[in-house]
């Protein structure tokens, strides 16, 4: 069992700059948890507090039931993979992977066995005698992962491990990491700013912004039920479209966009108390259609058309604001073409414009 528990964890630098604020999180044994958010949101700081590389200024962190606030990194039984790999340049791949075991006074046969086992899992057996500078980015990444797994730690920590790889390799390593987690069955805490990585890798995702946890949930729940505008905009690619407007009472409760292009009748029970307040409508690109005969049909002119083959990203404007939609490909979609497009009312999200919190 190796669960990680964060209780009211906070980080304040030099008594004034707050990086992380009261994070509460229970990471279960063998769970793959992702910390995601834009840069500067405190996700790396949180991970580094778990690792012991940053002092925990508020709250408590438990690993495997043990309070680790004052335990140095080496005694926390964790392994970490860094964004820049942090391989020791003067050691061979073998020595890099064996370093931690040597320090822990493992017998040589055991070290050989563990390193070879890890090398086999990662298919880097042929690289063991090389130095890091003779390796490609992807190979270095594998060695860094190998160095982490040889020690069989309780928890793996990954700090943006794929950010330095090119797009193709990133996708490949992502799949391998998912497979590796399945194989090793260890608790993983993984930091990334890439929402695709978050969606594809994690059992649960922790979305952070400005040092505060916004939502903790499974990938699908985050996608379907974001608690606020930030999470809604962060999860999903291309991102959710937002249209500013307000609620009016004019022959029934309605949402009208700023320039009245959109008029959407709404449920009176929920929205009557918002009359005259500013509201933001959120709609994902995939919830536009040019086929449905549904309501909420509008005429738009296409700005940019990105043909992807299996789908098309059609850009246009509503109320002068850029909107992106994801449609089934058609020859008639061209720049300047006029198209009737409908919005799927079952997938509308409404947020209070001021606070960003969602209206359910």
């Amino acid at each position: 069992m190796s669960e990680v528990i964060l209780k009211n964890v906070g980080k304040v630098y030099e008594g004034k700059n707050r990086a992380v604020q009261s994070v509460n999180l229970e990471i279960n044994d063998k769970e793959f948890v992702l910390l995601v958010g834009p840069s500067g949101c405190g996700k790396s700081t949180t991970l580094r507090m778990v690792a012991g590389l940053e002092e925990i200024t508020e709250g408590e962190i438990y690993i495997d039931g043990k309070l680790v606030n004052d335990i140095p990194p080496k005694d926390r039984d964790i392994a970490m993979v860094f964004q820049n790999y942090a391989l020791y340049p003067h050691m061979t791949v073998f020595e890099n992977m064996a370093f931690g075991l040597k320090l822990r006074k493992f017998p040589m046969e055991k070290i050989n066995e563990r390193v070879n086992e890890a090398a086999k899992i990662l298919s880097i057996e042929h690289l063991l005698e090389r130095k890091p500078k003779q390796l490609s980015g992807g190979q270095r990444q594998r060695v860094a992962v190998g160095r982490a797994i040889v020690r069989k730690p309780k928890v793996f920590l990954f700090d943006e491990p794929l950010s330095n790889l090119d797009a193709k390799l990133r996708v490949q390593m992502r799949t391998e990491l998912a497979r590796l987690h399945h194989q090793l069955e260890t608790t993983v805490v993984y930091v990334t700013h890439d929402q695709t990585e978050a969606m594809t890798l994690g059992n649960r995702i922790v979305v952070m912004k400005d040092g505060i946890v916004q939502q903790v949930d499974s990938p699908l729940n985050l996608y379907n039920n974001p608690v606020n505008q930030f999470v809604a905009g962060f999860i999903g690619s291309p991102a959710m479209n937002f249209i500013e407007g307000k609620i009016v009472n004019d022959d029934g409760i309605k949402f009208t966009s700023e320039m009245n292009v959109l008029q959407i009748p709404l449920d009176e029970k929920v929205f009557s108390k918002y009359v005259n307040s500013k509201i933001t409508l959120g709609i994902r690109p995939e919830h536009f259609s040019d086929e449905d005969n549904a309501l909420n049909k509008i005429r738009i002119t296409l700005d940019v058309v990105e043909q992807m083959g299996n789908e098309v990203f059609a850009h246009f404007a509503i109320d002068g604001k850029p909107i992106i939609s994801r449609l089934k490909p058609k020859d008639t979609f061209r720049i300047g073409a006029e198209v009737e497009i409908s919005l799927d009312k079952n997938h509308f999200y409404f947020f209070e414009s001021e606070t960003g919190s969602r209206i359910v």
Binding site: F99, R104, R147
Partner: protein, 294 residues
Amino acid sequence: MINKTKLSAVALFLGPSLLIIALFFFMPVIAAFAMSFTDFDIYALGNLDYLRFVAFKNYSTLLSDPLFWTAIKNTFYFVMVGGPLSVAASLAAAVLLNSKFIRFKGVFRLIYFLPVVTTHVAVAIVWRYIYHPRFGLLNYLLGFIGLGPVDWLGDPNWSMPAIILLVVWKNFGYNMVIFIAGLQNIPEELYEAASIEGASAWQQFKHITIPQLAPTTLFISVITMIGYFQLFAEPYVMTQGGPLNSTLSIVLYMYQEGFRWWNIGYSTALAFMLTIIILIGTSIQFKLQKERNG
């Protein structure tokens, strides 16, 4: 093909510096090399007719000159003990000043660097007082722990250690600055990775700092060795090579032969012997470094 304008531009830019290097470096070196095969002395200085070509006589005399061997022995003593001591002191100071727990780094850096830019003579005068057998600060301090007094500059056994201490103190700040630059180039992540893997502070120093500093250390060792083989000012000011020639260095002997006794031919031969020694020392260090890198 280089056209004419280009050639004149090249000449214009490179010409002055090449001229200066030729005039003040290559010419004297070649002249000195030529002189080392003559008996150039004060008579030849007066009238070049007295100059005689003596082939390798200066060099063969050197090899059977007991003072030359004393100077060699003293210089090696100085380089072998003072060199590593100086590099170690610089490294220790650099590591201390690079630590994130130290405050007022700028002030300490300045203090440690001050001796480097202070003139030899001023330093020597102060240190003569420190080393004074009766009124010196060093003996006074030793007295507290029941040692001494030691006649630092008067006892042939202590004179060289005294010189070494002075030189190390005066010079470690220079290498310290280079080491600090080297330390700042080591990525912080390596230490973080090592600390997670279980390395103690000492193990991090041994397995990361030392290997990562290897190129800097090689540079510093070579520069220090070359400089230390040319030990001159400190014994010249402090001891004049004494007592009993115990601080007579090669360059000091060269200076005495050349400018006190005017045996210029002989002293240039000494200079070239020193060059050969430094050349051998440097190549040994490069070779050691290469072997360690595998």
